[in-house]
Subunit: 199 residues, 2 copies
DNA sequence: CAGATAATAAAACGAACGTTCAATTAATTC
DNA sequence: GAATTAATTGAACGTTCGTTTTATTATCTG
């Protein structure tokens, strides 16, 4: 057999992306074989190569999509007006919501960086650095305005990023806490962490 | 050839553990082959199997050693007297010092859990849960004594753990900051995060 | 110094890996 | 409705994987 009835390139490609994110998040990039992925999609292994020339191309595609979506998400959510306290609140809320909604691709982006070639790793890290810079600017602005107590902007930014991204490690929706409750508590903790005067 | 001059089982086993931690931390468990590991140790692949029956046995050995060392480290460092504020300060200091000193094995323990069998995963997670329980008890004690503001003990414990463990992701000694400076800043941030009244 | 044991080498096993290529069929175009 | 293009299959490629087996040599024991 060859082309199957009702087959559609775009749908197949989307199905590959979807299955890949789920499998890689669960078993890890190296542990997932192209055969396993093809079986999950319901296709022969060779068919994957029509859409992604190599396994690493597929991984890179998933990671760039994730990072671009994250940056775009903050661009949309960032308040046009407001002081550093308002900005930081919006940042934390957006960050947690985005990552909880995309647990699997977040996992892939955090765990599989070492499977990228040098150039591609650099590109992903550059996107990430740009996003983190937004947080540092908020912290600096708050410190300069006398709203925050921040010993070291870079260090505090990393601490906050690690803390809020860590939500996806343990949090599962439909449990004891709702996303809104978690976001709310993290917001309060973040405000205390930076010693916000007007939170 | 066979047994080499000056060969010693204990030294070889230690060399295997050491090389394995470094290689797995850098390239990932799945990406490191037994041949690559043997080459790093300076031995033939078959020799590894005298010390570790399977590749997974080796991984499990590294992980249990790490977790046992962590628990033992806190047992030694925990103050015999002192209120929740003193306990939390000691916990954060010990946690950061331990993990910075053992960056590579921490990385292995955080990244390679999914390569363990179910039973072994359970064992590691149980050790980890016991350690995290110590932090929750400190937080509860501080909250009950009116020293801390804690919205949710479990959630705050996870936030603190993620924040302080995250140090190893970006921190490299011999840089802009010393370990002591980093620990000091994290201590202050933690105290503010829990709203400590007497820090 | 002989015998036992510990430590390793050398070679091979079958299985699984990422990937390629030619053939084949479905859908689209003219 | 014939020609073209898109989508996929089926089979195979060479390589690498974790692991096992057997032989060999160094060291230790009495």
């Amino acid at each position: 057999m060859a082309r199957t009835a009702g087959s559609d390139g775009e749908r197949t490609q989307a199905a590959i992306r979807d299955a890949a994110v789920n499998l890689i998040a669960r078993y890890g990039y190296e542990a997932v074989s192209m055969r396993q992925l093809a079986a999950e999609v319901g296709v022969q292994p060779a068919a994957l190569y029509r859409y992604f020339p190599t396994k690493e191309d597929l991984l890179y595609d998933l990671m760039t999509a994730h990072m671009n979506a994250l940056v775009a998400s903050w661009e949309t959510a960032r308040p046009a007006t407001g002081d550093a306290t308002a900005l930081l609140a919006a940042f934390v809320r957006n960050h947690i919501n985005f990552h909880v909604e995309r647990r699997h691709s977040t996992h892939v982006n955090n765990m599989e960086l070492r499977s990228l070639s040098r150039d591609r790793l650099s590109t992903i890290l550059r996107l990430r650095a740009g996003y983190e810079k937004e947080l540092r600017q908020i912290l600096r602005q708050g410190a300069d305005a006398g709203l925050f107590t921040v010993e070291d902007v870079t260090l505090t930014a990393m601490a906050i990023i690690q803390m809020v991204t860590g939500v996806i490690v343990w949090f599962r929706p439909d449990e004891r806490l709702s996303v809104a409750e978690v976001t709310d508590t993290y917001h309060k903790m973040t405000m205390r962490l930076v010693g916000a005067r007007n939170a």
